[in-house]
Symmetry: C2
Subunit: 385 residues, 2 copies
């Protein structure tokens, strides 16, 4: 790539949600232009951040090629696209895409992802492709009831997941997820874990940069908070970093990647999910890291040297601010959060709020993770969106 | 003001340079919309950051009213406008402007500014309004030759300033600045200073927040670097903060303000210039402060609580990246700067570079101001723009 630090250089994002938004803010900081392709322009806030927009579905190759031709490089903010579409867009437009379509093809759906990482020697949660009712019963009887059924494509925040308690109920869930007619469906065993961990890795031709391993707190399959660093031994921190590097190299990944692990009672790390993009678990890095995941996303894609991933303070806690009302977005009772020292409010500019929707986040830096977590909860408790 | 933390809330900037750009990035972080009014849209990079733009001169009341009607609040990024225009825009559009037209009228030109602060009991550099050739000679004979002639309006980075060595040469300079036909011209004595200092203050109905006093390094009337904190006694730090608060209260200022002081050999602080907006001396706060001047600018204008102005590390140094070539903007040899730990590159997206133009800046955080300054100079020495 020619020197990307030019005012006429344009980075294009496929997807226009908060992840593209926060990466875009970083791209602007490097003095380059930002373009955004959206499959639901009327619902997305990034349209207010640039006049360079493209619209269409993630299957509309022509629309995406037209968009890509206006960009110098393309990157992703979600996985709702197919690698063959990415291949076509890259080939027809001549605009490089990072993570590359080849990398993406190795993790683009949950089944392929499991196989890729298993083949690379990375421990993953027990899983199986489900093709029929017999498979449903067999998996439960082998790995225990209940277990989880997942659509291999398109799920997020618990959408696309179902719990299977017994064969009958598993079959209902299977049909609900599309059965034999939709995307592949896989079964995953429940893992008896003590912590859910996550880690981010940036990589390009200049090197690889790994963030500290953090702990994610989930409620109803939605991440509600992230505590950094995770309260685990230095050995486990090192092990998580090692596995994350191994996984990124296994797919020859260029960009920023996130990996979610289960830590079992036996002290084993099992890779649960990966994401070839900035990740909710890394939002704390905006203030908590010397270089944010969004800056390293842009640096990685532009093939610039990667920035220091160290923490600024001993503790960084992020609280997701979920919608509480069905209404035009309005953030009420955020005064306490704004008044706090080293507390940082981020709102995503989504036009409509609804209960449970990710509307923003609040990061608090401190000296002790647990105390900072309790303070952050208290500071955000009154917020209504 | 109603709760401004709404997705349909728009903050409008009069002016579209790097100061509006960096404030806009902060406004986006609060999930609100950004609009920009520019008098030279073809030259300004903020057009790539929002589709909400207005164009026209800073005297075109109708164009500005049309722009203001699309905004919920208006703020400034320069002083190239008249308070009577601001009054008309505010009255006709109904959109509040902060800093208010009344505040602005007290500092909108250098002569009024001096009088305002002098009346408030703040020591200022010796000055006089110059009306004719006799005044030119009288000032030099009273305050010493050489001295400086300044246009009372529109100057920046040394533009609008002339040095007067003797009466004949003073008259030439006077005529060059517009003589009796243009803006008022004032004479200012050269002050025998040991340091040039600057300080930022944010203020609104919720309170007042003062940044640490920093030292600015100037070459040919252009700021080349800022070192924070300034190497002065705690008493002088406190005195600078006190004067800055006094100055902001004297104009009932709402927004962010910067004050430049000369520190004389006798240990006196003399107010040199003020700015009712984010200021180059405060760019270091983006990473060096817990809350940046741009965030506190937006908070002040939105009447949200002001954020903590403390330093993140013992030393923060900012190097201005000035254009070195006449060409389309391209930042070469920035690798060392990008590779540094806790070094932060900001480019402004200006389409054209030219020697001496402010194209970006680089902030380095460290533990010792002088060592950090030397390192920052070294890291940016090769950069060509």
């Amino acid at each position: 790539m020619n020197n990307p630090l030019r005012s006429d250089f344009t980075i294009g994002f496929l997807g226009a949600g908060q992840l593209a938004r926060m990466s875009a803010l970083q791209a602007f900081r490097f003095g380059i232009k930002v373009a955004v392709y959206s499959d639901r322009p009327e619902n997305e806030p990034v349209q207010f951040m640039t006049p360079l927009t493209g619209n269409g579905s993630f299957n509309d190759v022509d629309a995406m090629v037209a968009f890509a031709e206006k960009c110098d490089v393309i990157t992703l903010e979600n996985e709702f696209i197919n690698s063959d579409v990415l291949h076509q867009v890259q080939n027809k437009s001549g605009t490089p895409i990072y993570p590359s379509p080849d990398s993406f093809s190795l993790i683009e759906n949950k089944l392929i992802e499991k196989q890729t990482f298993e083949n690379a020697g990375i421990p993953v949660t027990p899983y199986s492709l489900i093709k029929n009712k017999d498979d449903l019963g067999y998996f439960g009887n082998s790995h225990g009831w209940p277990y989880i059924l997942k659509s291999s494509k398109g799920g997020y925040d618990g959408y696309g997941n179902e719990i299977a308690e017994n064969t009958e109920q598993a079959f209902e869930a299977f049909e609900k997820l599309g059965g034999t007619k939709g995307h592949d469906i896989l079964a995953e065993a429940f893992v008896d874990f003590t912590h859910e961990l996550a880690i981010q890795v940036a990589r390009n031709t200049t090197g690889i940069a790994v963030y500290p391993c953090c702990e994610t707190i989930q409620e109803n399959h939605i991440c509600t908070a992230v505590k950094t660093p995770a309260k685990i031994s230095p050995e486990l921190q090192a092990k998580a970093a090692e596995l994350a590097v191994q996984a990124t190299e296994a797919i020859n990944g260029v960009g920023i990647f996130a990996y979610e692990f289960f830590l079992t009672g036996d002290g084993d790390l099992l890779l649960n999910e990966s994401a070839p993009r900035p990740h909710n678990s890394g939002h704390y890095t905006i203030e908590g890291g010397i270089t944010s995941q969004f800056e390293n996303h842009v640096r990685a894609v532009l093939d610039l040297p990667l920035g220091d991933t160290s923490l600024r303070k001993p503790a960084a806690v992020m609280i997701n601010l979920l919608g509480t009302e069905l209404r035009n977005t309005q953030t009420d009772h955020a005064i306490q959060a704004l008044e706090s020292s080293d507390g940082h409010l981020h709102m995503y500019g989504k036009l409509q709020s609804k209960p449970g929707r990710k509307m923003g986040h609040f990061t608090l830096l401190g000296n002790d993770v647990e105390r900072t977590y309790l303070t952050a909860l208290k500071l955000t408790d009154d917020i209504r969106i």
